[in-house]
Symmetry: C2
DNA sequence: CCAAATTTTTGCGCGCACGCAAGTTTACGT
DNA sequence: ACGTAAACTTGCGTGCGCGCAAAAATTTGG
């Protein structure tokens, strides 16, 4: 099976990238090193990842996107769309995994990694849009995508805030802006979107095509 | 005045980039050409723009961000936040400017330019967040940023859809998915966010700190 | 089991982004 | 007016992303 080997090298690259980055620091690892550690050509690396940071981040992020979609789908049908989505997102960004702990610590200390990590949130938008569309079959597809993108954007704001506050806290231990934990921050950022999610869900439930959309 | 000169070279680079791109096509213009046409060193180009496409896009985008913020601020205080924001955004993306017409046509025909153009929407989030915060002084700042980011994300979805449908229309003239104009598309994508914007605005008007935010 | 067809890997080359350390210009104080 | 400090520009070197075409590997059909 050919697909098997591809996933194998993919994971080999992820693992090698994360290992080397944790070992000598993110700045001191070139893509040639990662490729060599994974036993492939440097050129091959860019067939799998389009930037040096991507492999490192992918080792942590991996299947967040599909898991958040699955989490939305797993919620019982009688809970509101807003609660389903918000809880699903928060659930995926609440990781007590201690391996991920110091990985995230490393990410926070490198601007390039921070940016790349924030960008990975975009990956959830596609699957999330599908999950929303599946839960609300009569909803306009453009609406589903817009809502999913909005959720992703709000989550991005929360993560960005959290990253910057933790980096501030690391450099200036006395000057914390009283910013909460990541789950709390994410919840605060997503709460304002709840009305939009629920009214869109209800509109679709009544099979109305939003009469004001044309006017 | 030193700031004067910087803006001058900035605009010189933008103009040169757009001119060359329209003349010989986006693929056949290197940053050395742009720098030479603007009379500066190639290295200097990257002191102003961080990618080859950025200058071309900036020539079209220019001050969208500040203009959308100004448009929000210009709406009378008695119209709802949702209407103010949505109309402001749509207004900025409705350009009958015929110079911009063929510029956008060029953008649609280059994947790299398309991506860069979509990314520029992010630039409105900061000013938009400020405008929202100014209009609703009692609103949580994180909420303002989350809403602004959501609006930007929804606008991004609309633009992406529009770009891809127009490119499809250009290649396959007979197979149009009946996608509307960009303003209509943008309105459809932003409408679902209206409830979120208005309830957040009303919450802030009553000076409540959203008691469920902590629970 | 071998050969054709498809897919993946690899080497090569180009252009680009950016850190760094000069060199050059502009602003300001005396 | 002059010298100093600050900001901007420039050249250089390095690593990176990727298109392209040849080579290697893997599937498929006979």
């Amino acid at each position: 099976m050919r697909e098997r080997k591809k996933q194998a090298t993919r994971e080999a690259l992820r693992a090698a990238a994360l290992h080397l980055a944790l070992e000598r620091g993110p700045e001191n690892v070139r893509v040639d090193d990662i490729a060599e550690a994974a036993g492939v050509s440097p050129r091959t690396y860019n067939n799998y990842f389009s930037s040096r940071e991507e492999a490192i981040i992918a080792a942590v992020t991996a299947e967040r996107a599909s898991r958040v979609a699955a989490a939305v789908a797993a919620r019982p049908a009688d809970v509101s769309l807003a609660d389903a989505v918000i809880d699903a997102v928060i659930g995926q960004y609440t990781d007590p995994d201690d391996h991920a702990r110091n990985a995230l610590l490393m990410i926070t200390s490198s601007p390039a990694l921070r940016a790349c990590y924030v960008d990975t949130v975009t990956a959830i938008e596609g699957p999330l849009a599908e999950a929303i569309a599946e839960r609300c079959p009569d909803m306009d597809q453009l609406t589903a995508e817009a809502l999913a993108a909005s959720v992703g954007a709000a989550a991005k704001v929360a993560i960005r805030q959290w990253l910057q506050s933790t980096s501030k806290a690391a450099s200036l231990p006395g000057f914390v802006v009283a910013s909460g934990s990541l789950p709390d921050l994410t919840r605060s950022a997503l709460m304002p979107l709840a009305p939009a999610l629920d009214t869109a869900a209800n509109r679709s439930r009544h099979r109305q095509v939003s009469p004001r959309a044309i006017a």
